[in-house]
């Protein structure tokens, strides 16, 4: 059984998908939402990004974004700022339009489902199942839903209102969440079954800090990382000394250290150190997190193993360390080796361990029939997430060990599909999740031709404003930044596709492509999606109309032209001017989107096109046919084109041709103008529009 259409993000596709989408565990259509932002259609961007993701607001702030690691822009310079763009789309979204798509019209189902744990995995499964029509109840031990989002992630990275926005969206999908109910303490699994829950999803995460088996663990001043964060996040008093030693080199350790820096009040400045086995280069935390930690004054001690905690009078006074020469053995297994006689002491009065998390599985009873793995996670079928007990599924960090929000969400989604399959009485073993085919890397010849464009840096809260508070550090993009960031996307695989049945092998595409992509193969054009940069030149020039652009097709441009006229008053006092504006250069000048366009008089209607090379002769004629009194095309000056001068210049011939047609038809070529506008001069567009209006007014209306 294959669930393609109805299950966002899970659908296997016949064609090759961009690596960002393949890398995203929810298979978000990154290319799609980034392109929508690039076009200035922010609500469309939100809708696309939201489609597979009920925790979109959370993800837009803290997603580990594996997509960016795979982004092909990274082969040219740096990856597209995918996560920051999602945040921009979410921030722009008008929540009064709803958090997500309306609930599908499905038959309400009878069978009740219980979900244990309201973290990302549990919430996603609950949301999906509720949308399938199941009555779903989530049991959560803590007073508030969110899991690690609520009690693990520090507020300077994830403000709590952000979590609330997503939780509200999930509740609106008719998910019931019962907080302060700890399975094992307040109820057992058998109780749930007795209460009529026909399927159970265990999504309790990995909420316990791993401890170290070294001397001194029982001293006063030794804290566990996750407990420390939970206390901080729940506003409980936390006692830290003046020298805090954080053991661990991962993201959680960085969060612990950066939180420790923020604890206290002015005057209670403290020194925070991070000690980890890995070398600086091997540290598992994200590079940008480590850099921020250092900027906040945290002192790193890489390549050191904790040997023993030193104490005096029952209180911590320091950590004895030993130099670690390698963390993994030749087979890549965790197996640290230490340099003999390399011991040294780091003084400190508080030690926080952040060396990993594990699940608290004490609530499981032998009679539950749920087997565990050697790693103390719940054993599941990797496809279906079924545990060894019928009707009981598990997923998220309780099966994977420490992971990511989006990774746990994907397993929540998978569990929902499995549970639905199970409750329908269908055979679980037949359940298949399609494989995604990924576009290959850019070939070197293409990399060479792509213009480098610097990645837009994330604006950050100034260092001095971060002390002793949990204000969010990353501030989000402005509109102009988002536009620039979005235009860096290569629209991988969203470019030209050839209908070989129509192709006349005329070689036009072969000759006009600025990236030398098309070739003639087996008698027809072949456009390798691995190489195509989606400029659209070929599609607009193919005499056989054999080429379609996958994203932002020619037809879409027609629709947009038609839409411009939908509300045009029949009796128009002013000449109706239609402007085709190249998006790349338009938005290179920030003002276009923010202010210039708003200055255009109502008789001037503009269409944003992704590169003037996308415009074809018929698009221009269409505007006249529909009654435009004047039409202008505004595009960048040759070398400013995001593609190449070759692409930028193609519009000239088309405009010339249309002028000749207009003369023959009797409309007159002077009603069509082409303006080359350097990006720095986009502010002149209103003036150009004004001049054109006057010129056309003198000519009188379109004789049609």
């Amino acid at each position: 059984m294959n669930r393609d259409e109805n299950t966002p993000g899970i659908s296997p596709m016949e064609e090759m998908s961009p690596p960002c989408q393949v890398a995203c565990p929810l298979h978000t259509d990154v290319r799609g939402y980034v392109a929508a932002i690039a076009r200035g259609d922010f609500e469309a961007a939100y809708a696309i990004a939201r489609e597979p993701n009920p925790l979109i607001y959370v993800c837009s702030h803290v997603c580990a974004h594996p997509c960016e690691e795979e982004c092909r822009r990274g082969q040219v310079d740096e990856p597209v700022a995918i996560a920051a763009l999602k945040r921009f789309a979410a921030e722009r979204h008008d929540l009064s339009l709803g958090h997500g798509p309306p609930k599908p019209n499905v038959e309400p189902k009878e069978q009740k489902v219980a979900i244990i744990g309201a973290g990302p995995a549990g919430l996603t499964a609950a949301y999906d199942l509720a949308r399938m029509g199941y009555p779903v109840t989530v049991f959560e031990a803590l007073p508030e839903p969110g899991g690690m989002l609520r009690v693990g992630l520090p507020k300077y990275r994830l403000p709590r209102e952000i979590i609330d926005v997503d939780i509200k969206g999930i509740l609106e999908a008719d998910v019931e969440i019962k907080t302060n109910v700890c399975i094992g303490r307040d109820m057992t699994l058998s109780d749930l079954k007795e209460q009529g829950y026909e399927a159970i999803f265990i999504a309790i995460g990995a909420q316990q800090s791993r401890a170290l088996r070294i001397e001194g663990m029982d001293l006063d001043g030794v804290l566990l990382g996750v407990d420390f964060l939970r206390d901080v996040n729940q506003g409980r008093a936390v006692k830290l000394g003046r020298r805090v030693l954080v053991i661990g080199g991962g993201n959680v350790a960085v969060d612990v250290a950066r939180s420790a820096v923020r604890q206290g009040r002015p005057g209670s400045e403290k020194e925070v150190h991070m000690i980890c086995l890995e070398s600086r280069e091997e540290m598992p935390a994200h590079e940008w997190e480590i850099i921020e930690a250092q900027r906040e004054g945290i002192i790193l001690h890489p390549s050191l193993g904790p040997k023993r905690i030193l104490g005096r009078d029952g209180k911590v006074v320091g950590l004895e360390t030993i130099v670690c020469s390698s963390v993994f053995d030749s087979e890549g297994r965790f197996n640290p080796t230490f340099v003999p006689d390399s011991e040294s002491v780091i003084e400190g009065d508080t030690i926080i361990l952040a060396i990993g998390q594990a699940s608290d599985l004490s609530f499981l009873r032998p009679e539950d029939g749920i087997e565990l793995t050697r790693r103390r996670t719940i054993k599941v079928d990797p496809q279906t997430l079924a545990t060894t007990a019928p009707g009981i599924f598990a997923g998220g960090e309780v099966t994977t060990g420490p992971g990511s929000v989006v990774g746990s969400m994907a397993l929540g989604r998978r569990a929902a599909i499995s549970i639905d399959t199970y409750l329908r009485g269908e055979d679980l073993t037949g359940l298949q999740f399609g494989e995604w085919r990924e576009l290959d890397d850019l070939p070197p010849k293409t990399v060479e031709r792509i213009k480098p464009l610097a990645r837009e840096p994330m604006p950050m809260l100034p260092l001095e404003e971060r002390a002793f508070n949990y204000e969010e550090v990353e501030l989000g993009y402005t509109l102009a930044m988002a536009m620039r960031a979005a235009h860096r996307c290569l629209t991988c695989g969203g470019g030209a596709y050839v209908d070989t049945g129509k192709c006349a092998a005329c070689l036009t595409c072969v000759r006009v492509c600025p990236y030398d992509v098309p070739i003639i193969k087996e008698g027809a054009a072949f456009i390798d999606p691995t190489e195509c940069q989606a400029c659209g030149v070929c599609a607009s020039e193919c005499p056989a109309k054999a080429i379609t652009m996958k994203l932002y097709s020619e037809d879409q441009l027609y629709q947009e032209i038609d839409a411009l006229f939908a509300d045009a008053p029949a009796e128009n006092p002013e000449p109706l001017i239609v402007g085709f504006c190249c998006l790349y250069c338009a938005y290179a000048a920030d003002e276009w989107a923010e202010s210039v366009r708003a200055q255009l008089p109502p008789n001037v209607r503009t269409l944003d096109v992704v590169c003037t090379s996308r415009i074809d002769i018929q698009h221009l004629l269409r505007a006249f046919e529909l009654g435009a009194d004047g039409v202008f095309v505004a595009g960048c000056v040759g070398d400013e084109c995001r593609h190449t001068e070759k692409a930028a210049n193609r519009i000239q011939g088309k405009v010339q041709f249309v002028k000749e047609v207009l003369d023959q038809v009797g409309i007159g070529s002077e009603r069509l103008s082409l303006y080359d506008i350097p990006s720095a001069e986009w502010g002149t567009v209103p003036r150009i529009a004004q001049e054109m209006t006057e010129r056309i007014r003198a000519l009188g209306p379109n004789p049609l």
Partner: protein
């Protein structure tokens, strides 16, 4: 391949003046490649005609279609219904396609939207040059692979004439003198002796002068 270009819009307008519903029918082969009558050109002409006829106060309807090769019945059969529906067909194929249509659909008139110009080579994007006159008796083996029949303005067999100046033809300084080209090529090939051979007058009956051409391959007939 066959090279054609669109007739002036005014001429097309007057051809279709008496008809209300016009099927503009393109061809997916030569005329597509020379940007005269493929699907894209059909769309552009339809748009231009819609506007032009509206300006003339006429209310005409244009249907657009393109077949793979208009000189074959089988391909045209695919648009038989549209032909039936239309009052007239405006073909954007070469003259061969236009005649095929007239033959195949005798009850409906098919008009030529193009002027079929010559047999030529797309020498660069947007440029087409005449190369062959279909004389029926190829002489390229005597002329270094350059056709004096098609490319010499006078179709001289023993050129050049006195009008050859600096490698250009006297009819137009843009036009290469074919015999200069032939001379240069033969020289490069070390075969200048071929220039000395006097070619006897050509038997033009092998070409159109001998009546309409026809080839029959009995072995292939069904």
């Amino acid at each position: 391949m066959i090279i054609a270009e669109q007739k002036p819009l005014d001429e097309i307008k007057s051809m279709i003046a008496d008809y209300q519903k016009v099927l503009i029918l393109g061809c997916g082969t030569c005329v597509t490649i020379c940007f005269a009558g493929g699907e894209k050109e059909v769309g552009i002409l339809a748009s231009a005609l819609r506007m032009a006829t509206r300006l003339d106060g006429q209310d005409k309807e244009f249907i657009e279609a393109t077949v793979q090769r208009q000189c074959e019945y089988e391909f045209n059969e695919e648009v038989a219904d549209l032909v039936k529906e239309a009052d007239v067909v405006l073909s954007l194929a070469c003259g061969i396609g236009v005649q095929t249509m007239n033959e195949q659909f005798p009850e409906k008139l098919t008009l030529p939207g193009l002027n079929t110009k010559f047999l030529g080579q797309p020498t660069e994007q947007g440029v087409w040059d005449e190369r062959c006159l279909a004389c029926g008796d190829c002489v390229l083996y005597k002329t270094g692979g350059i056709c004096p029949i098609a490319r010499c303005s006078k179709s001289l067999l023993n050129g050049p004439c006195g009008g050859s100046q600096n490698g250009k033809c006297e009819i137009n300084p843009e036009v290469d003198c074919a015999w200069q080209l032939i001379y240069d090529r033969l020289k490069a090939l070390g075969k200048l002796d071929l220039m000395m051979e006097v070619k006897s007058p050509k038997d033009w009956s092998a070409s159109h002068a001998g009546g309409p051409g026809k080839i029959v391959r009995e072995d292939l007939r069904l």
